[in-house]
């Protein structure tokens, strides 16, 4: 049975509908990441889960109990905020105790026990007597997480908790959050705009755009089987290349025809329906290889390099093919200059087609998605 259930959840601010009907089920102990660009309604959704925003329409159930209109403190949830939300005049220990003391339901011994445990888990006993002003960003976030821990909630809600940290610390805290979740196995909903965080942390990832769920799936599946153009472009860095093509049948073989190239499409589900249509052809920069690395008989296409960006571990090239731009990730130290014409081949297992409305109609891989949730249409 699912732990948190969102049923056609909606939120209106005046005339603006920020969240436009979200259906989602979150399992007990699951780490679910809500990811999307700014203003997609992910934080509003989280705040509705917490009870900080009223629900305009729809139903929210936590532990099989309808909680629309239930006060935040009675939902047994704890939240961690982007800016930590620590009280500056209290020490770390006081900050962590404040909520429990105010609730008044806990004895002093119980509070101390939980405090010590949280401090041990987060490895911060030596910080307990310091005030937030004397802590670094990472330490503050640890205290904020500790404050959520002492409440021993049923659900953790995290609102972009790593966004205020510098890049190195973010990677470190990300790993620690994962470890923490493995230890505690508390249901967690995590909001972020960073697709890397979403991919690395989530058991499942829910991609939101314009107040609607685009796809909910495990990270690898989001990457391999994006349900629509938005997910295809949002997940993965650099984004998937999308170019307009015509899908034609030519002597028993279906091909994607573009001014700059023509690719044979392996026979997989959805291909027959695409024939005769114009569509968007998608391929990730890392699925394009230089011809030199391919078997001699593999089909190749000529493209012109316009810009090169050495990333250290690879070389990212912006290339021109038949008037459209595609990005190609090649091995580092390749002797390629802007203006060069190069031969590349596409990985046959990693081709995608999206129809005119943006929904995915075809993935060339022979693997099948584990969970089959129909792409959501308006």
């Amino acid at each position: 049975m699912s732990h948190i259930q969102l049923d056609d959840l909606r939120k209106r601010f005046g005339d603006v509908e920020a969240v436009r009907g979200i259906d989602l089920e979150i399992e007990k102990g699951e780490f679910l990441v809500l990811v999307g660009p700014s203003g997609c309604g992910k934080s509003t959704t989280l705040r509705m889960l917490a009870g900080l925003e009223d629900i305009s329409e729809g139903e929210l159930r936590i532990a099989d109990e309808r909680v629309n209109g239930v006060a935040p403190k009675n939902r047994n949830v704890a939240m961690v905020f982007q800016n930590y939300a620590l009280y500056p005049h209290m020490t770390a220990a006081e900050n962590m105790k404040f909520g429990m003391k105010s609730a008044g339901d806990y004895g002093d011994d119980e509070i101390e026990r939980r405090l010590d445990r949280a401090a041990d888990i987060l490895d911060i006993p030596e910080l307990m007597e310091r005030k937030p002003g004397e802590l670094s960003g990472g330490e503050r976030q640890r205290v904020a997480i500790g404050r959520a821990l002492v409440r021993e909630p049923e659900v953790f809600l995290l609102d972009e908790p790593l966004s205020n940290l510098d890049a190195k610390l973010r990677v470190q805290m990300r790993a620690e959050l994962l470890k923490l979740h493995q230890e505690l196995q508390t249901t967690t909903v995590y909001v972020t705009h960073d697709q890397t965080e979403a991919m690395t942390l989530g058991d499942r990832v829910a991609v939101l755009d314009a107040g609607q769920l685009q796809q909910v799936a495990e990270p690898q599946e989001l990457y391999d089987f994006p349900a629509n153009r938005f997910v295809a472009e949002f997940i993965g860095n650099p984004a998937m290349n999308l170019v307009p093509v015509d899908v034609v049948e030519d002597g028993g073989e279906v091909r994607a025809e573009h001014e700059g190239f023509s690719v044979g499409l392996p026979d997989q589900a959805g291909l027959d329906d695409a024939v005769g249509q114009s569509a968007h052809f998608g391929i990730r920069p890392e699925d394009v290889s230089l011809a030199g690395n391919l078997p001699a008989d593999a089909p190749t296409h000529e493209i012109t390099v316009s810009v090169t960006e050495p990333l250290g571990e690879s070389l990212l090239m912006h290339c021109d093919v038949g008037g459209d731009e595609i990005q190609v990730k090649a091995e580092p130290r390749a002797e390629i200059r802007p203006g060069d014409d190069i031969e590349v081949g596409f990985d046959e297992e990693r081709l995608h087609l999206f129809d005119q409305s943006g929904d995915a109609v075809y993935h060339s891989t022979s693997a099948t998605p584990k969970t089959s949730e129909a792409p959501l249409t308006e």
Binding site: R47, G51, L52, A71, P72, N83, H89, F98, G99, S102
Partner: protein, 289 residues
């Protein structure tokens, strides 16, 4: 290159203007303006030690023959100590009342959604256009009707509601991150606990600043107490100084005595200012934001 070196050498030669540098002129101006501003105060202190005839000798700017006798007379014969105590009680009540009321009003304005919130705030600001002196006649009537005339209530009550303080606290509360409130709601912390345990400790500087301004403002009230308080023993110090003016010695106004009273009346607000000047400066810094 050679010409360059020559010209540098030429400009490096010391001239008179180097000694009379800009700094000197600026410092001169600054010293002059400080003396100008401090002069009334210095003269008041000097005159408070003089006899009336010494005061009228314009060239006599030294310490007078009276020493501290004028102070003794003011405090003893003219009961200035009593007036100062009355002023102190009045100012303290106004400070506590104003800060408490303004904190509650700002709490309501910032953390509660109610209809016409903005209009209510605008209305509060509008009261700035109607300071106490403008309202003296209706206020006097009101005090008489309430039976408050000639009492401590009448000189404190009208000052307790303050648009300025509400505005300052509102701006300060708005600068506190909303997530602190969210977190308090998740913890089930009530609004009053939040005010006492979070907002007030986080607003210490602002509260101190508002208290200083309010204390000095209340201490300096003259017209309203003069109108509404009729019993001399209940009067405040600013009016008490006016009483000193009534005293005359062989037709001469006792300027020495008056100055002694004025200097005495100056001491309490000065002490408050010296003790709390840091939070006061902070308050004004926030206003500039």
């Amino acid at each position: 290159m050679a010409t360059n070196t020559e010209s540098t050498a030429a400009t490096a030669r010391p001239e008179l203007s180097d000694y009379l540098s800009d700094d000197l002129v600026i410092h001169g101006l600054l010293v002059f303006s400080i003396v100008l501003m401090g002069l009334p105060l210095i003269l008041a202190v000097v005159m408070s030690t003089q006899t009336p005839s010494e005061v009228y000798e314009v060239t006599n700017v030294g310490i007078g023959s009276q020493g501290l006798a004028n102070y003794q007379t003011a405090l003893g014969e003219y009961n200035l100590g009593q007036y100062m105590w009355n002023s102190f009680v009045m100012a303290s009540i106004i400070v506590v009342g104003k800060v408490a009321l303004s904190l509650l009003a700002a709490l309501a304005l910032v953390y509660y959604r109610f209809p016409y919130e903005r209009a209510v705030f605008m209305f509060i600001l509008l009261t700035l256009l109607l300071p106490v002196p403008v309202r003296i006649v209706p206020l006097f009537q009101l005090m008489a009707d309430l039976g408050w005339a000639n009492s401590m209530l009448s000189i404190t009550g009208p000052y307790i509601a303050s648009a300025t303080a509400v505005f300052l606290f509102r701006q300060h509360f708005m600068s506190i991150p909303a997530s602190l409130v969210d977190n308090a709601r998740l913890d089930g912390v009530g609004p009053f606990t939040f005010l006492v345990k979070v907002l007030i400790p986080m607003s210490k500087g602002m509260i101190a600043g508002v208290s200083v301004i309010t204390f000095i403002y209340a201490w300096n009230q003259y017209l309203w107490p003069l109108v509404v308080i009729s019993a001399q023993e209940k009067q405040v110090v600013q009016v008490g100084i006016r009483y000193l003016q009534g005293a005359s010695q062989s037709g001469l106004t006792q300027w020495g005595l008056i100055m002694a009273g004025a200097v005495l009346a100056l001491i309490p607000p000065l002490l408050v200012l010296v003790v709390l000047h840091r939070p006061l400066l902070k308050t004004f810094a926030i206003q500039q934001k």
